[in-house]
């Protein structure tokens, strides 16, 4: 196929995927997930296990080593049909703890240790390099096989140029789709749906080629059986070591590979999907493997002797003149490679940003963690990590020369990620596993893997000198990379796998048996091992009252975004029976907040950030007793008591709050009565005095005018006060007449700003507005709403104590409601007064300069209630902030 057409079809295919992903994100954003969250999509997304290695490499593998390729699919089959043992627990823990990656899982299990997160991340990145190189190599190979010069003499670029183009293209696609937003739980519906589509494409392509081979080229299954018998594949010998070892490695890899962990645990929407996947995923693997041997046999039979067996899936239809089928096969291979690279690099980028970039940044500038925009930093770190991961893959491809067989490269990566297995399995099932053990085991395993398998894979004299291969380092014969401790007769892969796994496990066990876990570690251990035991699974590490809720809110906003953080805090406060946005910092709330933050930045980082605000997590004696207690029944019973007690606490808190408010109101009412009599009396006194003077006559005209003006002013003040009181009582009784009409919000704010500018005209305010967002037409009572705006703006003008006062007005539309925030940069309102400011006659200061009777915000609240909206105080915005929420279209209420 002409080269340019091929590139064009690849681009078209990528754009199609993009459209699928975009469509799925849109649906997810609207909350209409439907079948996007079905077990089918989940199973198909798991097929990310089948990469270009399966699509192209398996046939080559079969052509070289017969049925041995099957071990790569039999291992995962065992793991999945045995889901009740391990995967079920893994997925449950992942959902409970908001795990974001395998590094997060291990770091979280072993006491939220950051060191462990770093080690796992490094191993995962290094082990992924050959795997990504494999994908680049296969796409490059398929290009060079499939592309031909165009008619006008445009020749395809060399393999190196193709590889770099493929790597760049994939990096851009992944960045565009994987890192657009920072999700609460790291789920990417768009990507998962696109992966599911790719799963279908690769399965259809491989099965189509297989069907063509068995029924098109051969004469049905029986003929095929005879051909297999006749071909050279029948000469293969099953090596028991490799047969068992590879099954183990692939079984380990299917749970330890970062991308498998991502789709299986992190993207899991419903635990029940796993039970479907337990048979459906092996079925997918079964279908993918069914035609591998026939294709390999036919390729060996029909294609010239020197042909690359890794490309049979593509070259066989090409040689038989089946252009369309070859195109389908090409797209299938392209699918398998791209989907793997995308998910792998997203998973790795999450790990790098959460476990390396964030901790370093937090340590370098601890104060910044509370003020800087963490979200942007995290996203930037992820984007750069994606580029780096793909760059490393490309570097490996260049360094290894792109000549090795696909399966051989892939197995290096499998053996690398298998190093996570001991720490993971023991961490899930054994409370005695400790952090030191995990660190030791992982380090030992990683070093041995790198020394015996990864570094030698570049060839002698590339990284390790040939002399070391022959005689060992410093002449130490027993340290030869291919014959550790003098065991030289093993197959190199099995040799590396055997020694790394054995010593890894041994170091892990010894380390665990001889060290003592810290308190956080013990609690996490109990939470993981007893995850199905509801009482022990909710560890509480936070002592009451250590952090100010407002500080927590400020920090959460930086990570979760303003809206999400406010919504989360509001829901938590409601749960505690409180109104507003600031819940009590109870241990339960702190634990839930930490888990929520962990969903965005990882457990270790979230823990560190919370610790900065709350001091170190302290573990109470009761906590440790809960952990130590083996009796599930006692826990069950105490949990029940506790929930009753929680209920009582909530009611008590609500009552106490109501009582406080009533007491304060009563004090205020008394204060008001004296205030109002004072307010009414002062003008009355001066009116009486001056009118008496006037009645006496004999005054010069200017004096009469002067006194008359004073009387007039005082009378006006009185009228205004009485108007306000009247207004309030009308509003409170709900007998107000609303004048509904369509009005532009921007114009209303303009009007309010103009009117409010008469208040304290000597102060110059900087106003920040968002004009495009303001351009909304509201159906409401414009005059009333403007009255609220004027009140808020003039309050800001009166009370904002900043030297360079600023007022930010931001508008947001969400569903059928519009929210308008007025935020100034003054010192804000202290927390204990926030509940009172909307009450009548509340005035925070005794500054008489304020001038009003303290009715403004009370009137605002009543107006908003009449307009079907709300007005609330927003804490944690760096100044006084009020949020006005109105319905977009107010319908006339039936009185």
């Amino acid at each position: 196929m002409p080269f340019n057409l091929l590139v064009l079809s690849c681009l078209a295919y990528v754009i199609f995927l993009f459209a699928v992903a975009w469509w799925a994100e849109r649906r997810a954003a609207r909350g209409r997930l439907g079948w996007l969250q079905s077990p089918l999509i989940y199973t198909l997304s798991l097929s990310i296990y089948c990469t270009a290695w399966t699509f192209y490499g398996a046939v080559g593998y079969a052509a070289r080593s017969g049925l041995e390729f099957l071990t790569i699919y039999l291992g995962p089959t065992i793991v999945f049909v045995g889901w009740w043992w391990m995967l079920r627990k893994l997925v449950r823990i992942g959902r409970r703890q908001g795990v974001t990656s395998i590094a997060d899982l291990l770091s979280s299990r072993f006491g939220k240790s950051n060191l462990l997160g770093v080690i796992v991340t490094v191993i995962a990145v290094v082990a992924a390099t050959p795997y990504i190189a494999l994908q680049l190599q296969s796409v490059t190979l398929s290009f060079s096989v499939f592309a031909s010069p165009t008619d006008d003499g445009l020749t395809p670029p060399g393999t190196e140029a193709t590889a770099i183009w493929v790597a760049t293209g994939l990096a851009i696609f992944t960045i565009l789709f994987g890192t657009r937003n920072l999700d609460a739980k790291e789920q990417h519906h768009g990507i998962v749906t696109a992966i599911a589509v790719e799963a279908v494409v690769k399965l259809v392509a491989l099965v189509a080629v297989g069907v063509f081979v068995v029924w098109g080229l051969a004469d049905g299954p029986f003929d095929m059986k005879a051909r297999i018998h006749a071909s050279s594949i029948s000469d293969w010998n099953l090596q028991p070591g490799r047969w068992a070892g590879l099954m183990f490695a692939s079984g380990a890899a299917v749970v330890c590979l970062p991308r498998m962990f991502q789709v299986m645990v992190v993207e899991n929407a419903d635990e029940r999907h796993l039970s479907t996947a337990s048979w459906a995923f092996p079925l997918y693997l079964f279908a993918m493997s069914l035609f591998i041997v026939p294709i390999a046999v036919m390729g060996l039979e029909r294609l010239p002797a020197g042909a690359n067996a890794d490309m049979f899936v593509l070259t066989l239809p090409l040689a038989e003149g089946q252009g369309a089928l070859a195109m389908l096969a090409f797209l299938g291979g392209f699918s398998s490679a791209t989907s793997m690279v995308i998910v792998e690099s997203i998973a790795l980028a999450t790990m790098v940003s959460n476990h390396i970039v964030m901790p370093v940044w937090l340590r370098l500038r601890p104060a910044k963690g509370m003020s800087g925009d963490v979200r942007r930093l995290v996203l930037l770190a992820r984007r750069i990590s994606i580029a780096v991961v793909l760059g490393l893959g490309y570097a490996y491809y260049r360094k290894s020369g792109g000549s090795a067989t696909l399966a051989a490269i892939g197995l290096i990566a499998f053996a690398g990620v298998a190093q996570f297995l001991p720490a993971m399995v023991f961490g899930l099932f054994w409370r005695g596993a400790t952090r030191v053990g995990a660190v030791l085991g992982l380090s030992v395993g990683f070093v041995i893997w790198a020394y015996t398998l990864f570094l030698p894979s570049f060839g002698p004299d590339a990284v390790i000198p040939a002399l070391v291969f022959a005689e060992g380092p410093w002449g130490l014969d027993w340290l030869r990379p291919r014959a550790l401790f003098g065991v030289g007769a093993m197959d190199p892969l099995i040799h590396a796998l055997f020694w790394s796994m054995t010593l890894n496990t041994a170091a892990f066990l010894i380390g665990s048996l001889f060290t003592f876990p810290g308190p956080v570690e013990r609690m996490q251990g109990a939470a993981f091992v007893h995850v199905f035991d509801s009482a022990a699974a909710n560890p509480r590490g936070w002592q009451r009252g250590l952090a100010e809720p407002e500080d927590l809110l400020v920090m959460s906003q930086r990570i979760m975004g303003d809206e999400d953080a406010l919504a989360f805090f509001e829901a938590e406060a409601k749960d505690q029976g409180k109104a507003g946005y600031l819940p009590d910092p109870s241990p339960q709330f702190m634990a839930r907040l930490e888990r929520r933050l962990a969903g965005s930045v990882g457990a270790a980082t979230a823990h560190a950030m919370m610790s900065q605000l709350a001091g170190r997590a302290t573990v109470t004696v009761e906590d440790l007793m809960a952990v130590a207690s083996e009796s599930a029944q006692i826990m069950e019973y105490s949990a029940r008591l506790e929930s009753q007690q929680d209920e009582l606490t909530r009611t008590a808190r609500a009552l106490r709050e109501a009582n406080d408010k009533l007491t304060q109101l009563s004090v205020q009412k008394d204060a008001f009565l004296s205030q109002i009599s004072h307010e009414l009396r002062t003008p009355m006194t001066s009116i009486r005095a001056f009118s008496e003077i006037l009645t006496e006559g004999d005054l010069p005209a200017p004096m009469v005018a002067h006194y008359g003006r004073i009387i007039h002013d005082e009378a006006r003040r009185l009228t205004r006060l009485l108007d306000d009181l009247l207004d309030l009582s009308v509003l409170e009784n709900g007998t107000v007449q609303l004048n509904l009409g369509l009005t532009n919000l921007s114009q209303m704010i303009d009007r309010a700003l103009a009117s409010a500018s008469h208040t304290k005209p000597e102060r110059s305010f900087t106003i920040h507005r968002d004009l495009p967002m303001e351009n909304i037409f509201l159906r409401t009572d414009a005059d009333r709403l403007v009255q609220v705006f004027i009140n808020l703006i003039s309050n800001a003008r009166k009370y904002c104590d900043a030297t360079a006062p600023e007022l930010r007005i931001s508008v947001r539309q969400k569903g059928g409601r519009v929210t308008i925030d007025f935020i100034d940069n003054g010192s804000g309102i202290p927390q204990d007064s926030q509940a009172l400011i909307f009450e009548k006659f509340a005035r925070l200061t005794d500054q008489t300069r304020a001038g009003g009777a303290g009715l403004g915000l009370a009137i605002c609240r009543e107006v908003m209630a009449n307009l079907g909206g709300t007005i609330t105080y927003l804490p944690g915005q760096g100044g006084a902030a009020f949020r006005v929420a109105v319905p977009l279209r107010l319908e006339q209420q039936v009185a």
């Binding site: 009740w84 090596q239 039970s275």
Partner: protein, 90 residues
Amino acid sequence: MFLQPASYRRRRRRDAARFLPVVGLFLFLLPVLWAPQDTPRRDTAPDGIYLFVVWGLLIAAALMISRALALPGEDDDPDPDPGADQDLRS
């Protein structure tokens, strides 16, 4: 007392789910036993057919077990306290 068999069956279904991978592993490792054949020409096709048949049976068994485990009355506790209301349902 007559309700007891239901929860008994439920526990056995879980046991079946636990045994399945062990059985599968045993069957998949069987070829190792007949691997060092003395005959120079080994026949690949029967081996392949054996493996695929075992694989297919394993998938079918996993399908049945996963259906059985999804029946109402299954909850998450690995070793549940046989609550009366659950047993009535299953």
